[in-house]
Amino acid sequence: MSSAVNIPPQFEVVDRPLDTQMTISMGPQHPSTHGVLRLELVLDGEMVVKATPDIGYLHTGMEKLFEYKKYQQGIVITDRMDYLNPLGNNLAYVMAVEKLLEIEIPERAQTIRVLTCELQRIASHLVWLGTHALDIGAMTVFFYCFREREKILNLIEAASGGRLTPSYFRIGGLMMDLPAGFERRVQQFQDGFLKSVDEFHTLLTGNTIFQRRTQGVGYISAEDAVDWGLSGPCLRGSGVDLDIRRANPYTGYEKYDFEVPTETGCDVWARYLVRMREMKECHKIVAQALSRLRPGPVKADAPKVVLPDREAMKTHMDALIHHFLIVAEGFDVPAGEVYQPIEASKGELGVYVKSDGGPKPSRVHFRGPSFVNLSALPHMAEGCMVADIVAIIGSLDIVLGEIDR
């Protein structure tokens, strides 16, 4: 029958082989890529054969900039890397420099660092939860998350003056002490937060669509996760019990009582559960830090490194001289090199600082957890559907500002 029909050659159906592949570009303006990430996807039908991330759209040469700035000026650059967890970046950087200087941080400053960093970690996880759910199609969660995050940003603003770029920590301590009534405001947030976490669970955890979109998607085994250098909740979602706060304690974390949540599902769902449980652990640490707050100095006793108080400057000649020298010339850091890892909200944030002895570093390098976690995306994405890519990116919790630096 068909041979009898005369088809003009331009309408002839070309018999394509079944394994024909198509390459498409996802991003850099795709909303689910959380910034300007471009993925080059090789597709077979709707199945992903190969995914190649293309990064660098936000590269601003921050590591180069550090070499031209004095040590204390570098703090404000760190805010702009992982802009959802700026206090964590501040902490890693100032701790690296403090390690080179070998100065002791007073107890109160350490406690405030833990308190604010854990609040920041909750805020970072809230943005992850809201956007992850939004990508998968649950829009309501986003508003609930940002309502809670707003309270934390208000607290951070009260302490430091900045919402997104606090630069609250200084080499040798803090910018200044907490404002009056801060503890009460944190307590107010604490009282309502656990109920909010339950609300998030009501919205998502029992949701069949969310479960079907996340369970079994983006599988990475424990061995592969370690080999690919995954860290933070992504690694713990693969059943590896590793938290830098426990493994290499810093800022007094060894004195706090908290659990390290792990899940053995190795998929997007497991990483979701880890972060949801982690928010409750952060809540626990904040409560302990609040009870540990005792009056005391918030700056180390190192007059050549730490800026003096305003009052001392007006009454003491040497304080005025030190202030002038720190601002005008900076301070010399002994030659050497350090690598300071911390558990940021997304995983191991490592700062490598190399000093030649002057007031400016010779090299500063950031090991961003998002950078390394994203490098494992091709491994997780192969063989899944295009729509699953969105779920996997969401579960990695990447921030492009930190990846591109």
């Binding site: 660098g56 590591e63 690919w228 250098g229 493994a247 690598y339 490592g350 490098s375």
Partner: protein
């Protein structure tokens, strides 16, 4: 360190170094013992400063020592935290260095391996065969410092565009770049 000679009269301060009580010794000392068992031809020098251990490695042995440290039961460096290059300065010789920050997910100790390279011959073998995570770290080091990782499966620029001239983190690269990118 305790030696076999004075183990007869067990002084109380020496008991911490007794092999049967290894768990009481700080982690860096067990790491030091483990490093002594590594082939000494692989190690140029060992530096200990500010609580961190750095091992300088000749570049031809970097893959061998990495594989050994990853698999040996007393080190178990299964996690490559970071690779970062550094430019010591235009006049320095050797000019470049590559730092490998290793971590053990079971023993929780850390170690830095360092390879120093001359400017004319800035080549180092890749460790992507040991840890797959080295892939992007090495691409970044190549992109920003121009260090070539021999045997790397996909050594392309990662942060800067493919047509970028020069390597931005070298000390002789101007902060604001060359024309037409410069804004003066």
């Amino acid at each position: 360190m305790t030696t076999g000679a004075n183990s007869e009269n067990n002084a109380p301060e020496n008991t911490a170094n007794d092999p049967q009580q290894q768990s009481t010794t700080p982690p860096w000392s067990s790491l030091r013992v483990a490093l002594q068992q590594v082939n000494q031809a692989w190690i140029t020098s060992t530096i200990e400063a500010v609580g961190e251990t750095t091992v300088v490695v000749p570049r031809e042995h970097i893959v061998a020592i990495c594989s050994h440290l990853k698999s040996a039961p007393e080190t178990r460096f299964d996690f490559l935290a970071d690779i970062c290059g550094a430019d010591r300065g235009v006049e320095e010789e050797p000019r470049f260095e590559v730092n490998y920050h290793l971590f053990s997910t079971t023993k929780h100790h850390r170690l830095r391996l360092k390879v120093v390279l001359n400017e004319e011959d800035a080549h180092v073998p890749t460790v992507t065969g040991v840890w797959r995570t080295a892939n992007w770290h090495e691409r970044e080091t190549f992109d920003l410092l121009g260090i070539i990782f021999d045997g790397h499966p996909d050594l392309r620029r990662i942060l800067l565009p493919d047509d970028w001239q020069g390597h931005a983190l070298r000390k002789d690269f101007p902060l604001r770049g060359y024309e037409p990118y410069s804004l003066k």
